[in-house]
Amino acid sequence: MIELVAEFWWVLIAALLIGVVVAWLLFANRRTRVEALRTGDVLDEGAAPAQRNQALIDRPAPPTAPAAPVPAAPAQLTATGGDDLSRIKGVGPKLVALLHSLGVTRFDQIAGWTDADIARIDAQLGNFSGRIERDSWVEQAGYLARGDSAGFESRFGKG
């Protein structure tokens, strides 16, 4: 055995090194993940991010979102045959008004959107850009346009 070790010491050293490298690959990943989590504490950066966020919240609304007709528009249009677009999850009063200003008032319009339509509308949503895809408007509107409340609720929850 001793002679074997003496004769093949380089094989053993190589095996040892491979072991170290494998351990490094296996456990270095885990260590960086813990470090990444540790730096994620909001308090680490002090009050500056909170102030920045508050400034973003207080920032005046972009010109694409008309401020004045917001409260009146939805009621008016629903009274004249449009759908209550705020039933789509993720669509609030501001988005409803914005959609109405773009001529979108019914679920079947949204349900029929093609990828090109989505891109065109999305470009005009300003701060709400990306919501169509994120909140699956087309799918939601499909259920609502068909009047499939049960399907809608089972897929997207009550409300």
Binding site: M1, L4, V5, F8, V11, L12, I13, A14, A15, L16, L17, I18, G19, V20, V21, V22, A23, W24, L26, F27, A28, R31, V34, E35
Partner: protein
């Protein structure tokens, strides 16, 4: 026992020691 078998057992042991050594170094460094 043939020589290759002895040698592979020794290599396996060395590999295990390396693995433990690497783990020990990394886990201490990460604290």
């Amino acid at each position: 026992m043939p020589i290759w078998m002895e040698l592979s057992i020794l290599a396996l042991i060395a590999y295990g020691i390396g693995l433990a050594l690497g783990w020990a170094v990394i886990s201490r460094g990460g604290k």
